[in-house]
Symmetry: C2
Subunit: 152 residues, 2 copies
DNA sequence: CCTATCGGGACCTTTTCGGTCCTGTTAGGC
DNA sequence: GCCTAACAGGACCGAAAAGGTCCCGATAGG
């Protein structure tokens, strides 16, 4: 199957939780890990990657934590995945890395992947983080016991 | 990065080579492996998977081999990947397998992946095998020394 | 019958994923 | 001004999967 790693998946879940709070509010790695049901060190590692990519802002020291750097509407799933896994693309071909494939000079499919990769990236860019929030059929968001849930 | 496995990549290269021959012609696993620069056992394994999926037909015995089951225009990249890697989807969620994810009841992104997965699958379904053949800018195909090459 | 070919596994090696831990560094609060 | 709660940045490790090899059986031309 075409898969992203669990790390990217977790990252999206964590950011989704962050997007459900007032923008600018801070959350500790521990807090976000608990809410997302992800081991704390793993969540911490993810948040570091996301910070380096500029998707979240970090504050150190007491009462520090992480907060979204931008409005959830302006953060795309493509960006999140790229921040955690690197450039998006089904193959090495066409992601910009030259010489990544040693079959390059004989490959029958050479150069044909770029449009496909672009189509997939476009599909992911079109999905903002805000669209990942659980919603009721009428578009209303609900929260139960601190954990985001789809309304029954 | 979002990646398909090398196996799927090789499979597409092999089928691309097959698609450049007269339809109905047979090629041994050994022959296809040599042309695609893939180890013979690996090519053989791939061809078995593709046969099981009905994308290629096999003939045993002397002068046996593999041939495309359908016109290259009617075989999509999505089908090829699915034949080798299984169902297409960025996450387990939404590929039909219930209970695959043990975070299901707490997942903030629950149910939001299906449209994304579908968008990607659609993008891959829209690319027929015939589109993977190397072509000149005018759409003409060239072959050099038995290996498909893009015209200089 | 003999041999080239596919069919279906078992099996091994390498990579990388997923996760842990440790040692700084920063900054608020007492 | 120290103390401590938080992030920063690695090193490291086990498990799982990918990638590849090999073997033996079945089939079908010659």
């Amino acid at each position: 199957m075409i898969r992203m790693t669990k790390l990217a998946d977790y990252g999206i879940v964590i950011l989704t939780h962050m997007s459900m709070e007032r923008q600018g509010s801070l959350h500790t790695a521990h807090d976000l890990a608990a809410r997302s049901r992800v081991p704390v060190p793993t969540a911490s590692k993810l948040l570091k990657s996301l910070t380096r990519a500029g998707l979240v802002l970090s504050h150190r020291g007491r009462h520090g934590g992480y907060g979204l750097a931008r409005d959830p509407d302006t953060i795309s799933v493509a960006e999140i995945i790229a921040a955690i896994e690197g450039p998006i693309g089904l193959t090495e071909c066409g992601t910009g890395t030259e010489g990544a494939c040693d079959m390059e000079s004989f490959c029958a499919a050479k150069g044909r992947w770029a449009p496909i990769n672009q189509a997939i990236e476009r599909a992911l860019q079109d999905v903002p983080l805000s669209a990942m929030r659980p919603q009721t059929p009428t578009g209303q968001m609900v929260r139960l016991g601190g954990i985001a849930e789809v309304a029954p």
